[in-house]
Symmetry: C2
Subunit: 251 residues, 2 copies
Amino acid sequence: MMSLWRMPWFGASRGLLGTPGLRFQTVLHRHIPKLVLGTNFSSSTDKLVSRFCSKNTDLKDYALPNASWSPDMMRLYKELLEKTKDGEWIKMPSFKSNSDHIKGLKIPGQSETTSDKEDYRIFTRCIENEGQGYEYVIFFHPSKKKSVCLFQPGPFLEGPPRITHGGALVALMDETFSKTAYLAGYGLFTLNLNIKFKKVIPIGSVVVLNVEVEKIEDQKIFLSCIAQSPDQQVLFAKGSGVFLQLELEEE
Amino acid sequence: MMSLWRMPWFGASRGLLGTPGLRFQTVLHRHIPKLVLGTNFSSSTDKLVSRFCSKNTDLKDYALPNASWSPDMMRLYKELLEKTKDGEWIKMPSFKSNSDHIKGLKIPGQSETTSDKEDYRIFTRCIENEGQGYEYVIFFHPSKKKSVCLFQPGPFLEGPPRITHGGALVALMDETFSKTAYLAGYGLFTLNLNIKFKKVIPIGSVVVLNVEVEKIEDQKIFLSCIAQSPDQQVLFAKGSGVFLQLELEEE
């Protein structure tokens, strides 16, 4: 399969956003390329999934129950975990950084000198104390290309007093889109997000995000999301997202 | 002005999303009401601004420079601060929680028993260590109803390796929309968000978000946002947002 790593989006720094003292200038900010590939991405879902969910790791999986999870959250988790037994659904692991998720795969624009000394964290795992921030777990159905994310927002995700910040929901929707798009067809970068908020989410509630791949077209993956209460009686928000399809190369 | 606090959105708990052990069940999740008010909100911007930016507080303002700010961030901050001297622009303070911002104003659905013991934080201030998460400051132009937000994402806002999470940008866009919508016309709750991502933002870059109120119609505030590099040569993202107009009542 052709390498996409020499695409115009990435390359040597021209210092467009040079931030002296920082180490990130090697990633460029050119236009997102309009690539046209004939590759059938869908056939490699199984390979992607088995690599993504490798058990051969001692990295901490943040998508596991802890004492802060409410009874509703636990019940839904157990129900979904039960469904993984026949292999139709898989529980996605969730590590501290996406660098951990794609170990052994090459990231565009990252030079050899990029150090790992800095403590990077994926945004939706930025608050480490249990229950304070994001509590969530994503389950994925490879053959149907859909996901379910269980989400329990903590008090550090506040927007209006005692209510979850709209941006916190959107960020997790984007994250669920992103992981789903990656496993379903090498979706890597968000192109569009569109969210309609229907009802407020009190801090501490449980929210179920149902994400589906609607279509894959012109190297774009189109996804939809419905965020509801566990009993499906309350619709919190509806969203859609478009992701760019790019395949990562082995290092 | 009529009180909006008895609107159907809020009220006593019916436990739709009951999360035992938590204290937030008093906020209900009914449909966002379609209110039709003839009130001219714009006349009260000055009052809102002077209350919001009150100097009579000993709360920590997180929107102040610290050692993690890059030279670009500092330069832009100083330029905008200079513009506040003639009173045309104001620098918004940024406290730990929105409860601090609207002290003395009544929040719908919050009963007297709601305790403040829990440590709540506004999502975009959820990471307290300087430089690790969100570094940002918002300046507002009351008469033109527009804002400028300076944003420097830290390593805890990661999406793809070394690149800012799309959701982290959207959350700050939502936050800037929200504060602008509130001061420009009592905009309180996000109804819609729509974002087009154009280029990736490396961790540590400086991003300038220019937010404008496009129109206020049918009790909705329509806003736009352009996220660019400081020299305006790189367009990172464009967004729009719609907020519901609701006036807070004195306690």
